[in-house]
Point group: C2
Chain length 429, copies 2
């Protein structure tokens, strides 16, 4: 027989059933919180027109994209590709269906995306992203930025992780700050230096800024800026020291105040204003945020997002401002397991396995199974003709309890469930 | 601005949020029943090695397959493709992870598959299949065939459809029958004629059989066979008339008896033995079944499956007999909507929308929202600064109730929920 490699392709997550059950539970937790917050689920196709996906994307995205072609029609091979995130398909969806949507449109997408990145440990080419977005028509109050942050934070709370911290910034503050320093023309390189500052030494950041042509004084101010963090009142005080006049950054500060006031009112846990947060050179225009585990900062951001004033700019002249955030569940699950931060030793995926001793007990077994199922339990009836010992061995791998049904049980209608971990038996009522 | 087409690609289902909520509920119903039956969920990657997908598939599948390539590495463009069903990836998964699985392995996959078929109304290129399979090691008792059928039937029962009928046959009966008639060498063409018999007139089936070289008497016997249906005792009686000696079909009959006896014991609704059921020229080797709506036979099968003695034959010398079934949810949802058989007018996707009159009521609004959410309700807090009329208009599209919170409500801590359909108000406690 020709030997075929049966491992999954590299960069693809493939879990055993017990692991999958934990992953599914975390995904369900996120979905439940998003849903409880009033976000509506949608599913866009995994395959899109290439021109839709690449309407905005830069060169890197294009290199990472999975192109799709039908074998019979290779002529159109460049026309279709797998989506690399939920945001671009969402923008298309909003334009296509805008007349049928109720704005602000609170929408969630929890599904797989694809990037043909170079495979390496902990990087995935196929990965779940759990997005929550709010899209307005013409305008969308800043209060919604706080709502998205609170919602994603509450979703993560279901993971029972060690202390989380939400780090919040606003792109308008950075823009105003650079304008005040006459550095607007160097915005891209400075953003990039701040974005990477946590991964390098302060000295390296300073060198990079110098190389970009900043004066000693400008370098110092940018460093003072990017290390600014704290409560709203604290960062206002610090910025006043750096800038003197706050008017160039006032618009951004007002938004930060609104967002943090609401998070305060909503009693959303541990958050901080932190100007080191940039979120890449992405499409964000105002609020940006990241979430970290305070004692595991090396993990990096576990959920992030921000405000984009013009979601659908590549598809329409209409204005659809939005704010959104995302939990990259596949990577997060991988990392949390590496750190032992996800509880894999939960209950087994099945509650009960029933063993009818012979076909004579099938009827009673089916009836008991249906009764337990109607109570929301998961029940497997083992119909195999193997020895009882083998059946117990299988059940121990997948279930919490086993119930043996023989003639006595059928006659008495009394059933005992044996805990497969402790050996204890309990009477079923 | 360059005009980009924002419609989804043809052959892709894209639903509005309220439709998606109904679709999601049906999918959840299926998942719940499979899970309650003790099936364990797995997810295999959407992208597989082409050699895995095409290890068995014939020419048609190859034409319909979506090939995948990374733009930067077009060299490997023929190596990867999108899976076209769950069965081939399952076979690979079972071989890859067999040492970590508990056999019989009861497994479900509910996810999207891809076929580049010619697009036409009601045919989808991206579609959900909801599979339930049971895989044995070396052997798997026939009782499991009944289990899969009962499970899929129970899953469909949650749809509240008009009367369903399960049609069951067994490939071994057909094989034995053709052997008794010395027609084994024409098995493929005869199977194909029976498979299509429902779509053409009896006369056309007879002509096709004659063309295949069958004698008048053989044609008559094949027709008598394929129109044979009924209870086990009835079909035994009819087959005896056709064949005289039942020994060539006895193995298949024994399996049919076991399956139908268990379905009887399990009180699984309306089923019938029906030799017109073939399930294509697929890999099935024993039991085959289809489910139809008795009063909407033109819809065709809404769920089907069968026994395959050698699931992993292309990947290993080991024997993994299996039985499985599948609900093609995307097509089913489309057809049921066409026939008005799916209840789209369920509750709105959101339970409550709360309108704080001003930011002063944010705190009370957030508290009430969290309280309702902790009771399992879905709650949107409308933070927009639009007029109350506009807010009500939006809420009416997505929610069942609206709650206005002003200063009075905050002081009294009494909240009224207004039913957005009837206008009735109820006091929240």
């Amino acid at each position: 027989m020709k030997k075929i490699n049966t491992s999954p392709l590299s960069g693809m997550q493939e879990l055993l059933p017990t692991e999958q059950a934990v992953f599914d539970q975390l995904k369900q937790n996120i979905s439940d919180v998003y849903h409880h917050y009033g976000f509506l689920n949608i599913e866009t196709p995994i395959i899109e027109r290439t021109e839709v996906l690449l309407a905005k994307a830069g060169g890197d995205t294009e290199k990472q994209i999975y192109m799709v072609s039908k074998t019979a029609e290779s002529a159109d091979s460049a026309d279709q590709a797998l989506r690399f995130d939920h945001t671009v398909p969402l923008a298309r969806y909003v334009v296509e269906h805008s007349n049928d949507l109720a704005f602000p449109f609170q929408v969630t997408q929890i599904n797989r995306n694809f990037r043909g990145e170079r495979a390496q440990r902990g990087r995935f080419r196929e990965f779940y992203q759990c997005d929550a977005d709010i899209i307005g028509r013409e305008k969308l109050p800043i209060a919604y930025d706080a709502k998205v942050i609170a919602c994603i934070y509450d979703a993560l709370k279901t993971f029972n992780l060690p202390k989380m911290i939400i780090r919040i910034s606003n792109r308008k503050v950075l823009a105003g700050f650079l304008q005040a320093l006459n550095l607007t023309d160097k915005a891209e390189i400075i953003s990039s230096v701040i974005d990477h500052a946590e991964k390098v030494s302060e000295e390296q950041s300073r060198s990079a800024l110098k190389e970009a042509g900043l004066t000693e004084e400008q370098v110092q101010k940018v460093c003072n800026f990017m290390f600014t963090k704290g409560s709203y009142d604290e960062i206002v005080e610090k910025l006043t020291v750096i800038l003197g006049d706050l008017s160039p950054v006032q618009a951004g500060l007002d938004e930060l105040k609104q967002v943090t006031d609401i998070l305060e009112t909503k009693k959303t846990g541990n958050f901080i204003i932190d100007f080191m947060i940039i979120r890449g050179l992405d499409y964000y225009t105002g609020t940006v945020f990241e979430t970290m585990l305070e004692d595991y900062r090396e993990i990096g951001s576990i959920a992030s997002g921000g405000r984009y004033e013009n979601l659908c700019g590549n598809f329409t002249e209409q204005s659809f401002p939005g704010v959104g955030g995302s939990i990259g569940l596949t990577r997060l699950f991988f990392v949390l397991r590496e750190y032992g931060l996800v509880n894999m030793a939960t209950n087994q995926p099945i509650d009960y396995v029933i063993f009818p001793i012979s076909t004579n007990e099938f009827e009673a077994s089916f009836e008991l199974a249906d009764k337990l199922r109607s109570q929301g339990k998961t029940v497997d009836v083992d119909l195999s003709d193997r020895r009882l010992g083998d059946k117990f061995s299988r059940a121990g791998k997948i279930a919490d309890y086993a119930i043996v049904i023989g003639n006595d049980e059928v006659l008495s209608q009394k059933y005992q469930a044996k805990n497969l971990k402790t050996g204890e038996t309990i009477e079923l009522v």
